[in-house]
């Protein structure tokens, strides 16, 4: 008997109440970039439960060290920090070998990007991006400079709180996630239109990293803890066989 191609595992249906809606007028750019039609819901196939597998040798030794990976003639300016945490799924299991990519502004709130015109100065020793794979326990860590806040054109006096962008690729295509991490205690958090689209206080709290003294590097760096939860994977091995068995028993 050939083995059925249906995957042994699939991912929990996405809980849309955990995420911002597509159309969020307070974040003005979303107005013309948000689909008006309902999303078509799919039962998952191999196309959705598989995803690219990354290898450690694809990443360079400094790719996860934003303090050193663009240092040219000295160290970047700003507060030295470590950011670390666990990538887990919704059922609490570690997501191993997840690709975690991060990018951010420098300490002045300026991005190394040809489209960023902010007056804040570029730092010749800071690139502002890094990437790493989570380990056997789903753990990841990188060090960087704490990003600065910056103004942006939404309303004329909107400011982004300090934040680090994340893109995470897990075991399945449906786990792909882009998000942003904020810093505990930042007074700009409560008035940020982009963070404001997140639909609940609980979900907003999940995006705010806490200062983590247990991970400070003495006489060197403070640390922040940011855990990430991806879609939960559940076994499907009961479904079809059980239905068949039950049907057999009832006949």
């Amino acid at each position: 008997m050939t083995r059925p191609a249906a995957p042994d595992a699939e991912y929990l249906m996405r809980d849309t109440t955990s995420h911002p809606a597509a159309y969020t007028p307070a974040y003005k750019t979303s107005v013309l970039r948000s689909p008006r039609m309902a999303l078509i819901s799919l039962q998952q196939s191999l196309s959705e439960v598989t995803a690219p597998v990354f290898r450690a040798d694809e990443l360079g030794p400094l790719d996860h060290d934003l303090i050193m990976n663009y240092a040219k003639e000295g160290l970047p300016i700003g507060e030295r920090i470590v950011v670390h945490g666990y990538v887990r799924d919704q059922l609490g299991r570690p997501v191993r070998n997840a690709l975690v990519e991060v990018w951010q502004a420098n300490a002045s709130g300026r991005y190394r990007h040809k489209k960023d015109q902010y007056i804040g100065a570029l730092d010749p020793n800071f690139g502002g991006c890094g990437r790493m794979l989570s380990d056997e326990n789903g753990y990841y860590a990188f060090r960087t400079i704490k990003p600065g806040p910056y103004p942006w054109r939404n309303r004329v006096n909107d400011w982004r709180p300090s934040h680090i962008h994340y893109a995470i690729s897990g075991d399945g295509w449906v786990q792909r996630l882009v998000t942003q991490m904020y810093f505990e205690g930042d007074p700009l958090i409560r008035r940020c239109p982009i963070l404001g689209v997140v639909p609940s206080e609980e979900q907003i709290r999940g995006l705010i990293a806490l200062q983590d003294e247990s991970a400070f590097i003495q006489l060197d760096s403070r640390a922040y803890r940011f855990d990430i939860v991806l879609r939960g994977q559940r076994a499907t091995l009961f479904e079809n066989p059980v239905q068949k068995t039950l049907q057999g028993a009832l006949q």
Binding site: T17, S34, S47, P52, D63, H113, L177, V229
Partner: protein, 219 residues
């Protein structure tokens, strides 16, 4: 019986997924630093999925992304994920019998829309059909994921092929789309012209909103 496995959705015993946030205007810094204008990583992930040893028909997919009033967007990042020429994904969960992984094809790439023209482009191979649910084969397709400033959560869609009309007509996912005229938004047109590298050329435009809005999936 299924109740012992897990509760569907975010309720029950599961914890909540981390909230999505927009990738923002500077997504290139993290995911495509050359596009942002600097060089930092030795190995860069990009829009070419093939090397000279990859098996399969070489194709190029190119297109543009439009907003709700037809503006060409120039700050979009698209990733694709696809099976190889035999219809097998390079992932351990793909246990389709009789198909081998192509060691020269991962099946994943990312491209940015050009800051001047708005055109994105992938060089890849045409995937084979993959077995779907209930043993039915899906028409050849490529999975695509779209992020940009103004998109609060990445959009999932599929790219089917215009020269696979018979397979497309039987595809369970396309047939799930109740509005027949919307199915065409997922079909890349095969052009008569070939790409400058000799590949077969397909055009796949994405409309985020409004007339001809692309079908996006909740996967």
């Amino acid at each position: 019986m299924s109740g012992i496995v897990a509760a569907p959705g975010g309720a029950g015993l599961s914890i909540r997924e981390t909230a999505s946030q927009t990738a923002g205007p500077y997504v290139h810094i993290g995911l495509a630093p050359h596009a942002a204008g600097f060089d930092i990583f030795e190995n860069n992930f990009g829009p070419v999925l093939t090397d000279e040893k990859t098996k399969g028909e070489r194709i190029r997919i190119e297109g543009r992304v439009f907003d709700g009033i037809g503006t060409v967007l120039k700050d979009v990042l698209i990733e694709i994920w696809q099976a190889n020429s035999q219809g097998k994904y390079a992932h351990p969960a793909d246990r389709q019998p009789g198909k081998a992984i192509d060691p020269d094809f991962r099946g994943w790439g990312r491209a940015c829309t050009d800051f001047e023209t708005g055109v994105y482009r992938f060089d890849t191979i045409k995937p084979g059909p993959v077995e779907g649910r209930n043993g039915r084969f899906m028409a050849p397709h490529i999975n695509a994921w779209i992020v940009a400033r103004g998109i609060n959560m990445g959009l999932n869609t599929r790219i089917y092929f215009g020269d696979e009309a018979a397979a497309n007509a039987k595809d369970a996912v396309l047939n799930l789309i109740e509005w027949e005229q919307r199915r065409q938004t997922l079909v890349a047109e095969r052009l008569d012209a070939r790409a400058d590298n000799g590949s077969a050329l397909y055009r796949f435009d994405i409309r985020l909103q409004g007339d001809g809005e692309t079908v996006f999936f909740d996967v």
